[in-house]
């Protein structure tokens, strides 16, 4: 196993179509890092650069202490699981599992011993002589995993390996992947567009957007202290509410918009004068006011989910109101057009600057 380090990686396709911009990423030996982001954000390109399938336009790739930027894939000794599985259709399962070992000149006795062992672990013993075409989707996925594991590579690269499975199998396989990672204590880099998958799988999550790495952190930190407005909006479901407002300091700092005017108990020295900011609050964090309300809202749409309920609300203000979402317990009795008083818990507010969307200062208290 080995650590992986990317230094100032740039990838430009064609003339000036930048897929990855100045990306630095350090993946510790044995870590499970999930690269997540919307489609086209450069996460797959990054993975393929690690694999050696793409050459970076600039920057360096290190495996352990070795600079492998100029190495071809076959010299890197990594394993990859593809979204389409990419099983060799003309080879039986056994030959699929053997191929990588054979290419690396492993002794035949060792090969068959390892293949048998992996097949047993993954429950593929009875399928060894079948062709991939004769397997179910789940079985193919296992073979693809087996083909990677049997190699005992320096690291595993997984490119949306679960996206072709149905929902139930996907949840099951996620748990299995976590277990596998623990047992192998292997370095894994996992690409997905699904933020929930990222949260459940990774010890570190790297969020990418438009070729830029926005934040790398453990799942809970990503969720609790998103470094940018993009991360805040991308992670978590339903997506975070954002309000444009003015941050102003008259003694105590206040956030003001047409819908609300709330006092913050923030360390005042962080903030000077008056500025436009983006206020973020998760739908789960909005409370019903017990005393004085921070804002008034009208219920627009109600979507019961069973144990809870999603309410689309309009914060009442000068204009037609600002749309937002909140989650309330399913027991709450509420009807469309009901008016609610809302409370925004101060410790759950996120402030971002309006330009690049960087997080402002420490979390407001």
């Amino acid at each position: 196993m080995a650590s992986i380090r990317l230094e100032k990686i740039e990838k430009v396709f064609g003339k000036n179509q930048a897929a990855v911009r100045s990306l630095d990423l350090e993946i510790a030996d044995g870590a499970f890092v999930v690269l997540v982001g919307p489609s086209g954000c450069g996460k797959s390109t990054t993975l393929r650069i690690i694999a050696g399938l793409e050459t970076p336009t600039r920057g360096k790739v290190f495996l352990g202490e070795q600079d492998v930027t100029a190495f071809s894939p076959q010299e890197r000794d990594l394993a990859m699981v593809f979204q389409s599985y990419a099983l060799y259709p003309h080879k039986a399962v056994r030959q699929n599992l053997e191929f990588g070992l054979r290419m690396r000149g492993v002794a035949p006795a060792v090969i068959s011993e390892r293949v048998e062992r992996i097949a047993k672990v993954l429950g593929l013993e009875t399928l060894l002589e079948r062709k991939p075409g004769q397997l179910s989707g789940g079985q193919r996925q296992r073979v693809a995993l087996g083909r990677a594991i049997v190699r005992e590579p320096k690291a595993f690269l997984l490119d949306e390996p679960l996206s072709n499975l149905d929902a139930k199998l996907r949840v099951q396989t996620r748990a299995e992947l976590s277990r596998m990672h623990r047992q192998l204590s292997a370095t894994m880099v996992y690409v997905t567009h699904d933020q929930e998958e990222a949260m459940t799988l990774g010890d570190q999550i790297a969020v990418m957007n438009q070729g830029v790495l926005e934040q790398v952190a453990p799942p809970l930190e990503i969720y609790r202290r998103p470094a940018t407005a993009f991360v805040a909006g991308f992670i978590g479901s339903p997506t975070m509410n954002f309000f444009r407002c003015t941050l102003r300091q008259d003694g105590t700092p206040r956030l003001r918009s047409s819908c609300f005017d709330i006092a913050l108990n923030v360390d005042a020295s962080l903030l000077t004068g008056e500025r436009e900011v983006l206020l973020g609050i998760r739908p789960q964090d909005i409370r019903l006011a017990e005393g004085e309300a921070d804002s008034q809202a009208r219920v627009d749409v109600i979507q019961p989910l069973g144990n809870e309920m999603v309410q689309h609300i309009k914060l009442l203000g000068q204009d037609n109101g600002t749309s937002a979402m909140m989650i309330v317990p399913a027991e709450m009795t509420v009807q469309i057009n009901d008016q609610l008083g809302l409370h925004f818990p101060r410790e759950r507010l996120h402030l971002f600057d309006t330009g690049p969307g960087r997080r402002l200062g420490a979390a407001p208290r």
């Binding site: 990859m80 990419a86 191929f99 990588g100």
Partner: protein, 277 residues
Amino acid sequence: MIRALVALRSAAIVLLIGAIVLGILFPFYWAIVASFRPETELFGTPSLWPQEWVTEHYQKLFDERNFWVPIRNSLIVAGATTFLCVVIGAFCAYAVARLQFRGKAPILGFILAVTMFPQITIVSPLYLLLRELRLINTYPGLVFPYLTFAMPLTVWLLVSFFRQLPRELEEAGLIDGASRLRVFWEIVLPLSWPGLATTAIITFIYCWNEFLFALSFTLGPERQTVPVAIALFRGQYQVPWGQILAAASLATAPAAILIVIFQRRIVTGLTAGAVKG
């Protein structure tokens, strides 16, 4: 009312297709049937179904004209050309389809341009060249000129076949530790034999049918290919139609058989090369 119109339209389409099917088939039918008619029944007002079936034209074709010779020549020349083209062309096509290198687009354009230029433009230098090399009226003297049109055709067809293979399979091979060459041998080639076979069939048919080079670079019956032999059939007093039609029927046979067996693949090959290419 509308339903009646729709029915009428589909009936019209069926009729149209039927008429066209008959139009396509009739010349074949007429020629094959005629090749079994006695000489006297060939012209005049012949019946759609012959009154008498004879095989004398076929017998004469082999006994008097030794039609085996052109068949053998055609098989050798078309077979050798096809073999050379597929073997050499597969490498070229794979590189163009998959490998990254400068000059890919010009190469493809060049190949396309060569398939398009008229054969007649190189008949004179090829003749002089072959004469210099003493290859006029030999098998190599046909195979080499045939490469001019067959090689670009093969490469063109194979490029579109290779492009259809899923790229991840090759990437999986590379990551598994195989070299590019190894990936080509162990993954690409075994998976593309249908494409290779189809390309071979199409190339073979083109070579089997070629006329201008075969006419220009052979001197006598001993090296003539089937099309040339048939085109140059002459009788002493009149055109030997019975034998011509018998030979024509035989010349059609290989292509017809290949097509009946491989029609789906051939259609895919031809249209992929042209429409998507």
